[in-house]
Symmetry: C3
Subunit: 154 residues, 3 copies
Amino acid sequence: MHSYRKVIPLRVKKRMAFINITPQVQEALRESRIREGLCLVNAMHITASVFINDDEPGLHEHYARWLEQLAPYDPSPQRYHHNRTGEDNADAHHKRQVMGREVVGLTAPDPAPKGSRGHRGDSQCRDPTAAVALCPKLCPRRSTQCHLSAPAAA
Amino acid sequence: MHSYRKVIPLRVKKRMAFINITPQVQEALRESRIREGLCLVNAMHITASVFINDDEPGLHEHYARWLEQLAPYDPSPQRYHHNRTGEDNADAHHKRQVMGREVVGLTAPDPAPKGSRGHRGDSQCRDPTAAVALCPKLCPRRSTQCHLSAPAAA
Amino acid sequence: MHSYRKVIPLRVKKRMAFINITPQVQEALRESRIREGLCLVNAMHITASVFINDDEPGLHEHYARWLEQLAPYDPSPQRYHHNRTGEDNADAHHKRQVMGREVVGLTAPDPAPKGSRGHRGDSQCRDPTAAVALCPKLCPRRSTQCHLSAPAAA
């Protein structure tokens, strides 16, 4: 068995941002020389998410508003007891649960098996690519990492 | 390493529907002749979900009502800027995030390892089977596909 | 290919509880002698979740409150038609969708590849370990199980 592993470092200046890491994942897969197998793309922070969806600004604008409704940012320890620990990111731990954690995709030489039909956005699914949602930063000056792991038959 | 891949085409007439694809997944696993490995069942549209839960009408009725509360259908571009693109399915992009994207299961010859106990619904977990939730259709006259991938030891 | 499978039985007395199963997962991985591969940790009940996040009491307190807001416990069949079946756990089927179902992680001999930086909570991601959220019990006197599967190169 052949496997490949890569860290994709990301640095975010805002409390929340959506970053399309599809090119980085595709590059890593090319480097891996793995033709068929499973690919795991995992956000290595527990207030970040990796997910597959449309890289469209209007969608991301509402994702941010929607997540803020579901779990509003509130640094005080009154709403979120987690913030008694000295952190202010309890909301992000909730947002991450809604958006998901990791992506498992297929590393396939042929992205379109017989019988499949195209659609905008499909390429994001067919290849194990992903947009990453970075909810509130864990700590200032800290980068968020994405780990790509592809244990597979070479 | 042996692997198998299959497209399960689904055609949905309503904006939202819950379809049990357990029989199709089980049939594909039989065809694959894979005895042990991981199975990935992935909705190939970014407004659809594959998840594992009870195939019970009362539950699905409330899932639909609940998802409508969390992210109401609204074709206007006022609520969802995503709909400025000419699409009307921004709500479905949100619903899909709540319900999840793909299922990773185990393709095991023995579905009940020592120590496990039965429960209604367990069979849906033990085998890599799934119910698929189809949130608002992406485009009229377009079918939704499920991809099944099982890289595994034969 | 080498693989390993283990049942982690859990018994919960309350309707909702958060149990850190990281030690059990780590022990199972040691038993497996698998050095590199993918690890699947799956809650074998459809009202339970396995997820990765901080094992911090203040966070869990608010997770419970938040899930109760999103899908309140209500045994009556008026709100949740699912409870017409004689069960009272429809809320838990919804909570499980928010918290997720299974964790796919990496079983790596080196938990910190070059370029990665430490953070509190990272160890929960880097190793395929997990905290399990047990939403309302399915039935009295029934234990919840976690299945660990690690098909991998030995």
